[in-house]
């Protein structure tokens, strides 16, 4: 492995790498679950998304604890911690959106678009995981970073048109409108945070090679 070649690859480092991978796999699984929950309108799956967020929290704590316990060279530690925190932020957005999904009343045409955003989020997460694995193998991340940006741009475009449609929907009360706006904002923020994670991965990659 690329990292092994560069660093004296100890047990702590190995554990951090394993945990970051586990963290990303869990995130991809949670994104898939949320997509299925929306597609099949199975609100029971939302509970599993919430469970995944909790598991993600404990993995993040373990990653940071190991880094603070001395894994990796000091100049790399803040970026690795930051990466784990960004992935955790994605989990937070996902959980918040999933919980809002339990309450929100989505008009059919908005629902279809949101299912599609959830699907693209899941596909984007796969690329994030592929990027991480590519980084471990010392591969160039250029194509992966571009793929992440493409997904993000696509979701951004969809958000723009969903919001334009949302403005035409009459709402009965303030809270119903707020819930709808929060849901759409949440589901489209997931990709923003994933893009941040992808960008940060590139920073880590550059740091490792310099």
């Amino acid at each position: 492995m690329f990292l092994k070649k560069i660093f004296d690859y100890g047990k702590k480092e190995e554990q951090v790498i394993e945990n970051i991978k586990k963290h990303l796999e869990l995130l991809c699984n949670a994104c898939d679950l949320f997509h299925s929950a929306m597609e099949e309108n199975d609100k029971n799956l939302v509970g599993e998304v919430v469970d995944s967020e909790r598991k993600g929290d404990s993995i993040r704590r373990e990653i940071i604890a190991n880094i603070y316990a001395g894994a990796f060279l000091p100049y790399l530690r803040p970026d690795l911690c930051r990466f784990a925190e960004i992935v955790d932020r994605v989990f937070d957005f996902l959980q918040e959106t999933a919980l809002n999904y339990l309450e929100v009343k989505l008009p059919e045409h908005i629902r279809d678009e949101c299912v599609r955003v959830a699907f693209l989020n899941a596909r984007m997460c796969e690329i994030l995981l592929i990027s991480f694995e590519a980084m471990l193998n010392g591969e160039d991340l250029r194509e992966k970073a571009l793929a992440i940006r493409i997904y993000e741009k696509r979701i951004d475009d969809m958000e723009f048109s969903i919001i334009r449609d949302l403005r035409q929907i009459p709402v009965d009360d303030f809270w119903q409108g707020r819930l709808l706006a929060d849901f759409v904002s949440g589901i489209t923020s997931i990709s923003d945070a994933m893009e941040d994670a992808g960008d940060h991965l590139q920073i880590i990659n550059v740091c490792m090679k310099s």
Partner: protein, 134 residues
Amino acid sequence: MKIDEFMTTRIASIDADLSAYDAIEKMVDRRIRSLLVKFKGTDSDHGVITARDIVFKVLAKGIDPTDIKVSSIAAKPIVCVNRDVTLAEASALMEKSHIARVFVCEGEKIVGVVSLLDIMTASLIMRARGEHVS
């Protein structure tokens, strides 16, 4: 990769009876290059109007776009594919038919549209995933 991952599901449309000016306004406003044209009558009667049609058939000929109806410059019928068609199959069809977009249909319902740019974008995603791009 199947075509439905990269199709655009929000399809902007325009009534065939409206003017080319209305079509220009809609395309510029939404920053898109084509509109689905809906003809009166059956729900399945569709055409397509592109920026190319407007520029070559109207503006380049000095015709006032308010004087010409969308129906007279729209291409008809539209080219439809199934949603499980691959990107390679869709691009081959576009090349063969000399068109820049195909519509994705489920029976008589149009569920999306895939353009040349979508195909290029999808090919980049496939490269990133390590999938074969033909």
